[in-house]
Each structure stands twice: as structure tokens, then as C-alpha cells.
């Protein structure tokens, strides 16, 4: 091979190439050459590292982010805080603006005003009429089954059961409140299976023109942790002394219950997955180091000190752990984003704050997997290893 001029291995060329190459230390060169010469084994070990780091990253990212995602899902249950005027009184003007200001500009919070009055139909039946902001109510109460939302003046949303009384054939109907009549057209039917079915919903401004009653209730959906909801509740109670601010216990307790169980399950699962990934790295890297016992023996036979040999293998493992962690981290973030999209239809925010943990964990596992076989090899004479036994 060496007698063919121009090949890379011709002694002269090799000498020339080496003369011009940057002078790297023996230590670095040994590290690099080992990886290049046994690229298949090195690639397998690195792959295990990358996969393990990726899986660990994805799990940790999900664990942090899923709680926020689930909380958003839970807001579909509707309001978790209710502001009510004391003794059924109307809330002071500007209460809605105050609630929104207290919630902050983040738009994470939705506040919907409701005002109530009891009107009479033509044949003298009592029926509850509610004034609200349809656009907001629609966003807050997603479970409302509405055939058509009102979009024109004097249109009303009619509960299933109220419809049978006031307008069985969807014809326009008249209601009176304290002697003042109003002519309404049914826009659509509302079905909820709860109290709303017996009511008639009107736009707030039309309702107020007719009855003169301003909102007495503001339903607030706060998207946040239990502590955030509680602090907003306290803040609102201070801002609106004329109102009763209370959390909706049904919603708060149900959410806390389900969220805690899910978080605990996810935590247990994520721990198991991360441990398994570590096991995978341990198995592969131990094989990789054990496989190099001949290098180990030669180094010792050539007079390398214990410290140097240990340092060499440790550096090799650490380098592999570091490279694997960096590549795996980005792949793991990708996986987490994909899971967020597939399952929650919303992107998972990459948490770069978990990178130090993934990095430190990978390097630590890599070091452990290098040290274990080395301690085993240290007890063996180099000669025995070199003899192939």
C-alpha cells in the first residue's frame, strides 16, 4: 500500500501532513483517534447517550409544561371565581373594568358580567331574564350548546325549557318588566342541562335600557395556579368592598384533584423513563469501556500512571456524555413540542432552564458507566488482558 505514490499512507506524505498539522497534545489525540478508529462502537455509544438525553429532556419538559396546558383545558369548565354584589345588589359601575385591571394585561383572565331580572310573559308566567355580553359568555361557557348566537338588536337567546313557555314555535314574543314591555325575537336555543335552560339571555345594553338594572354578578375565569387564583380573589375583595368575591369550590376542588393525580402519575412515569434511559447509557458505555481493555492494558504496559489512565477514560466518557446531552437536548425539545402539538394542539414552550440538569445528569451517568468497568479492570494484570484471557 505504502509504495503507491500519492496515497495518504505513504510515509513521506504522512510525515508532511503531520508536520503541518496543528500540534495537539497526546491526550487529545488519543481521545479523538479512539473515536475515529472505532467509529461504529463510538457511534453506538453516542447514539445511546443522545437517545437517553432526548427522552429525559422530553419527559422533564412535558412534566413542567403539561400542568399549564392542563390548566388551560380546565378553564373550559368555566369561571372559577365569582364576584357578586352583597345582598343581591348591583355592582358599582366600573366593577368590570376594575376586575380586568386587577387581572393584568396578560389577557389570561376572562370576566363576564351578568344581570338578572324576573319578567312576565303575556299570560302572566314569571321567567328569569339575564343580560350579558354574548361574545364573552361564549368564550367563558364553551359547554353551552347554542343553535345560533344573537347578532342583531332585540334578539334573545332562549333556554330550552323557557322556549316551550314563551315561544314554542320560535315566533317573536313580548315580555314585561315592571310595566315596561319589550318585543324580542328568538335567535337561537340554549341547552346546558342546568339553570340556564329556564332563562332568557339578552345583550347587556338592551337589557339595561329595558330594565335599568346593571350587572350584579361577574364570573371570572382565572387561568393560573391555585395560589394565583387565591391572590387575585383577595385583591378583588379589597378593590370591591361592596361585593362578595368567592372561588367556585366545585371547579377549584375538582381541578385541584384531577391535576394533582395527573401530576403525580406523570412524575412517577417520567422518573421511570429517565431511570431507564440512564440504564441504557450505563449498559452501552460499560460495553464501550470494557471493550477497550486492550488499550487500557497497553497504556499501563507502556508505563502510564493510574491517574492518567483513569483520567483518560473519564475524560472520554465525560466528552461523550456532554456531546450526547447537547444533541439529545435539542432532539428532546423537538419531541416535547411534537407531543404538545399532537396531544394538546398547542405548542409546548421549550424550557431551556432544564438544560443544566440534563447536561449534569448525562455527564454523571457517563462517568459512572466508565468508572465501574475501570475499577474492575484495575485488579487485572495488563499481561493477562494482553494475552487475551
Amino acid at each position: 500500500m505504502s509504495d503507491i505514490p500519492g496515497t495518504l499512507h505513504a510515509p513521506k506524505q504522512v510525515a508532511d501532513r503531520r508536520a503541518q498539522a496543528p500540534h495537539t497534545s497526546m491526550f487529545t489525540r488519543m481521545l479523538l483517534r479512539a473515536a475515529v478508529l472505532r467509529r461504529r462502537r463510538a457511534a453506538a455509544a453516542l447514539l445511546a447517550m443522545i437517545v437517553a438525553a432526548a427522552v429525559a429532556t422530553a419527559m422533564m419538559n412535558l412534566y413542567v409544561d403539561v400542568q399549564a396546558k392542563l390548566r388551560t383545558e380546565f378553564r373550559n369548565y368555566g369561571a372559577n371565581v365569582v364576584v357578586v354584589g352583597k345582598d343581591g345588589q348591583s355592582l358599582p359601575a366600573g366593577a368590570l373594568a376594575k376586575v380586568e385591571a386587577a387581572a393584568g394585561p396578560g389577557a389570561k383572565t376572562l370576566a363576564v358580567p351578568f344581570s338578572y331580572a324576573v319578567a312576565r310573559t303575556k299570560d302572566g308566567q314569571s321567567v328569569v331574564v339575564v343580560g350579558t355580553d354574548f361574545a364573552r359568555a361564549r368564550q367563558l361557557n364553551r359547554w353551552w350548546k347554542v343553535s345560533h348566537w344573537p347578532d342583531e338588536p332585540n334578539q334573545a337567546l332562549i333556554g330550552m325549557r323557557a322556549a316551550n313557555v314563551v315561544s314554542p314555535n320560535r315566533q317573536p314574543f313580548e315580555l314585561t318588566f315592571q310595566g315596561k314591555p319589550i318585543e324580542l325575537t328568538p335567535a337561537g336555543m340554549l341547552q346546558t342541562g342546568a339553570g340556564e335552560d329556564s332563562r332568557i339571555y339578552l345583550d347587556q345594553s338592551e337589557f339595561q335600557n329595558w330594565t335599568g338594572i346593571s350587572p350584579s354578578t361577574i364570573e371570572v375565569a382565572v387561568n393560573g395556579t391555585a395560589a394565583e387564583v387565591e391572590s387575585l380573589t383577595r385583591q378583588l375583595a379589597q378593590l370591591l368592598p361592596a361585593a362578595d368575591v368567592r372561588p367556585v369550590r366545585q371547579i377549584m376542588e375538582g381541578e385541584a384533584n384531577v391535576l394533582n393525580k395527573t401530576r403525580a402519575t406523570l412524575y412517577a412515569s417520567a422518573t421511570l423513563v429517565v431511570l431507564t434511559s440512564a440504564l441504557c447509557v450505563l449498559a452501552t458505555l460499560m460495553g464501550w469501556v470494557f471493550d477497550r481493555r486492550r488499550d487500557f492494558a497497553i497504556m499501563k504496559a507502556l508505563g502510564a500512571s493510574e491517574r492518567l489512565v483513569n483520567g483518560f477514560f473519564a475524560a472520554e466518557a465525560a466528552a461523550m456524555g456532554a456531546v450526547g446531552a447537547i444533541l439529545g437536548f435539542f432532539i428532546g425539545i423537538g419531541v416535547a413540542v411534537w407531543i404538545g402539538r399532537a396531544n394538546f394542539h398547542a405548542p409546548v414552550v421549550p424550557r431551556f432552564s432544564i438544560f443544566p440538569y440534563v447536561f449534569a445528569g448525562s455527564v454523571a451517568v457517563a462517568l459512572i458507566s466508565a468508572i465501574l468497568p475501570i475499577t474492575m479492570l484495575r485488579r487485572v494484570q495488563p499481561a493477562i488482558i494482553l494475552r487475551g484471557e
Binding site: A44, A48, A52, V55, A58, M59, V66, L70, E73, N76, G78, V82, V84, G88, Y116, V118, Q125, S126, V127, N141, W143, W144, K145, R161, A162, V165, T192, G193, A194, G195, S198, S216, R246, V248, R249, Q250, E253, G254, V258, K261, T262, T265, L266, A268, S269, A270, L272, V273, L275, T276, S277, L279, A283, T284, G287, F290, I339, A342, N343, G388
Partner: protein, 440 residues
């Protein structure tokens, strides 16, 4: 000879076999635990979702409108239709009776309270923890189960609420009035207005009733009085009357099939619909057993639990896949390492005239043995782990389907083979001369 080779290999290389075996055991244990938890999580979360309370409501078919503003009922109390209390235990006789977690009847009555009789208040009669029986079944049910967020203060000391759960599991009620008593619960805000505390007596429509505790609900009941159903019926003068019934049932998330009208279905399709625990079919069955009733889903609760449930199930499925992937990789890596170390042995066997097939067969037989032993140990460990997760998180057993055992074992064998295959192929292809010289 074949059997002896395999046997000797296990006897002499116990340490290496142990390492691979441990990897397989741990991998299988994680896989088993994750699969068991993931298959059971739907049922577990479904039960937890019952803490949102009832998802079905039964009302009389010919009912007048509710006229209720701010927790005060303005409808004349005797107006409209009623259900018959005697029909209620039949709820346990429906097809999906095992899915009915509990139910509680409600009967609102408007009463005057205070010795001066100046204030109109709504008194709601209900079951708290009522023992009932249907056929041979004995069970207890009531607001404790359908309204788990209700908290009674000043009775049990700490006001702690027993866990919601299956009717059968419920321990004796603590902190709730007896359903046969004349004791009442007063809503938190009403109690403040009346300046009453637990143990006081309250004049309700001319009767002197003992306040058992203060009820905190965060909803309309805070301004009301809640009393045993029999008491409310006496006050209304209508024994056996119930205005509405709240039913809490475990349901399957609804799909397009669920929302179809059963009256337009062919008999076979209708049977399939009837035998699926959709909230719609349970409502249909409730209407069948309670005469002159109309059952409907409470959309706020019923509509949302499907989404939450499917999100959590989807999440667990993906996490389980990640766990399976990671454990498969760990097993493969361990097997590949174990075989790679034995190239010298392969070289020797081949130098002595063994064919590639024989050598592969020996390795695969070893892998099979390892996979079976590791699989059985891992399955048991995984079952224990799943049980531990179930007990510590959900306070209940996680059922492990027996069918999971052969499946897990098959997966373990498959993954072990797949992990060994490449390593075996490379070991067999490796030139025995190099192997014996110790190069490579």
C-alpha cells in the same frame, strides 16, 4: 452438546449473564408498570373527575320553569310536577348501575326563618348519606357523593370531607346530619346574616330546628338551608315528592355515535348504543326506570370531562411509548454488549467447525432463556411497582390484566432477539483468525 453449551455458558459467565438479566428485568418492569398504569389511567381519572359532581340531572317531564335568582327560588313551592322518591332506588337497576357512583334528590321549599318570621329563605331537602336498598343490593348515596365539594364546618372538628368514591366504599358518614334527623345545615353567608353558629336552634317555619353545621359550597347553597329530604317533604306537605335528582355516573367520552337519536336506529345499532356507557344512553336508561321523568346531561360537567380524559389518556400513551422505547433500547444495548464481548468464543467455535447457524442458535437460545427469566421477574416487579403507584397516587388498586403477561413476555423475547440480532450477526461474520488473535 447444544444444551450443555448453553448450560455451561450460564454457569461460567454468571456475572455477564447477571448484568444482561438485570437490564432485561428492569426494562420489562418499567414497561409492565407503565402499560398497567396507562391502561388503567382512564378509569382512575374518570373517578377523579367525579369530584366535579353530578353529570346528569333528572327532572319531571311536565315541569314548570325554575324562577331562581341569586339562590332564592321565586317559584311557588307547590307549583309544577314532582318525581316520586320511591322510584329512586330503581336507578340502581339500570343496565349501567355499576357506573352510577351516586345520586341525590333535591326538593327546594321556600320557608320563613327567624322568630320574627321576616325572611324568606330557600330550604333544600336532600339525602346526605342515605342507606337504601334495591333488590338485594344495599348502598348509601347522597350529596356527600354527588356534591363532593360541599364542606360542613363545625361538626366533625376539622370539617374534613371523606374521599369521594364508589358508593360501596363509603365509610360511615362523619360530619353530616343523619338523614332521619331534624337537623339542618345552614349556608355560610346565611349563617353570618342570621348570626347563628353550629348547635344553635333556628326557627324555620314555626319549627325549632338544630343547626348541625355550617355549609360552605361557594355556590347558591351558601344562602340556603340544606335539610334531610323527609323534613323538606313535611314542610311542603307532600310526602315522597322530589323536584329533581342529581346523578353522578362514570361515562365514556362521547363521539359522533353517542349523539345519535336512539329512535332512528336499527335494533342492532340501538343495542350497541344502549350498551355503551355514554352519558346520553345512561340518561335514556334513567328515563326508562323513573316514570314521567326527563333526564339530561349537565353539560358543564359532562362535556368537559371527555376532553380532559382524552388529553390525559393521550399524554400517558405517549409517555408509555417513550418508556417502552427507552426500555427496549436498554435491553438491546445490554444484549449487544454481552455478545460483543464473546467474539473469542465464537472464533473458537467456528475454528472447531461450528457453522454460523449453530453459533447463532446457541446465542439465540441463551437470549431466549434470559428473556424468559428476566421477563417473568420483570413482570412481577412491574406489577408490584404499578400497585405501588396506584396505592400512593389514586388510593386504589391498579388492575393488571392477566392477558398482559404473555404480551409482556412476547415483547421481552422480541426485544431481546432484536437487540441481539445485529451483534450476533457481526460476531458470526467476524473472521475467527482475528478473533482468536484478539484483534478487532
Amino acid at each position: 452438546m447444544f444444551a450443555r453449551l448453553v448450560y455451561e455458558s450460564f454457569r461460567h459467565q454468571a456475572r455477564r449473564k447477571l448484568l444482561a438479566g438485570i437490564a432485561i428485568t428492569l426494562g420489562v418492569a418499567v414497561a409492565t408498570a407503565m402499560i398497567a398504569v396507562a391502561t388503567d389511567i382512564g378509569d382512575k381519572i374518570n373517578r377523579e373527575l367525579r369530584s366535579y359532581g353530578a353529570n346528569l340531572i333528572v327532572t319531571p317531564q311536565e315541569d314548570t320553569l325554575d324562577v331562581e335568582v341569586g339562590g332564592v327560588n321565586l317559584k311557588p313551592p307547590s307549583d309544577g310536577a314532582f318525581l316520586n322518591e320511591a322510584d329512586l332506588p330503581k336507578i340502581r337497576g339500570t343496565f349501567w348501575h355499576n357506573n352510577i357512583v351516586g345520586f341525590s334528590p333535591m326538593l327546594p321549599v321556600t320557608v320563613r326563618v327567624g322568630s320574627d318570621g321576616a325572611k324568606d329563605v330557600t330550604l333544600v331537602g336532600t339525602y346526605f348519606n342515605k342507606p337504601l336498598h334495591f333488590g338485594k343490593q344495599d348502598f348509601t348515596t347522597g350529596a356527600r357523593i354527588t356534591h363532593p365539594w360541599w364542606r360542613v364546618e363545625g361538626s366533625c372538628g376539622d370539617g374534613a370531607l371523606p374521599r369521594s368514591g364508589r358508593v360501596e366504599d363509603s365509610p360511615a358518614a362523619c360530619g353530616w346530619p343523619n338523614d332521619d334527623s331534624q337537623d339542618i345545615l345552614v349556608g355560610e353567608r346565611l349563617a353570618t346574616k342570621l348570626a347563628k353558629k353550629p348547635g344553635d336552634t333556628l326557627d324555620v317555619a314555626g319549627r325549632q330546628l338544630t343547626i348541625f353545621g355550617i355549609l360552605v359550597t361557594g355556590a347558591a347553597e351558601d344562602d340556603q338551608i340544606v335539610a334531610p329530604l323527609a323534613l323538606a317533604q313535611q314542610m311542603l306537605g307532600k310526602p315522597g315528592a322530589v323536584r329533581r335528582v342529581y346523578v353522578s355516573a362514570l361515562t365514556k367520552p362521547q363521539d359522533a355515535f353517542a349523539t345519535q337519536d336512539p329512535n332512528t336506529m336499527t335494533p342492532e345499532v340501538r343495542d350497541r348504543w344502549y350498551c355503551s356507557p355514554y352519558v346520553q344512553s345512561i340518561a335514556y336508561q334513567l328515563q326508562e326506570v323513573i316514570p314521567h321523568s326527563h333526564a339530561e346531561q349537565i353539560r358543564q360537567v359532562a362535556q368537559n370531562e371527555g376532553t380532559v380524559l382524552s388529553r390525559i389518556k393521550g399524554l400517558m400513551l405517549l409517555v408509555t411509548l417513550a418508556a417502552l422505547f427507552a426500555s427496549a433500547l436498554a435491553v438491546s444495548a445490554a444484549m449487544a454488549t454481552a455478545i460483543f464481548e464473546r467474539r473469542v468464543e465464537v472464533g473458537l467455535m467456528k475454528a472447531l467447525g461450528a457453522g454460523s447457524l449453530t453459533v447463532s442458535a446457541i446465542f439465540f437460545a441463551e437470549a431466549l432463556l434470559l428473556a424468559l427469566v428476566g421477563g417473568i421477574a420483570g413482570f412481577s416487579a412491574g406489577a408490584l411497582l404499578a400497585g405501588q403507584i396506584g396505592r400512593s397516587i389514586f388510593n386504589s388498586q391498579i388492575t393488571i390484566e392477566p392477558v398482559l403477561f404473555p404480551v409482556i413476555l412476547a415483547i421481552a423475547v422480541f426485544v431481546t432477539f432484536a437487540g441481539s440480532a445485529t451483534a450476533i450477526r457481526r460476531a458470526v461474520k467476524f473472521d475467527p483468525v482475528f478473533a482468536l488473535r484478539g484483534e478487532g
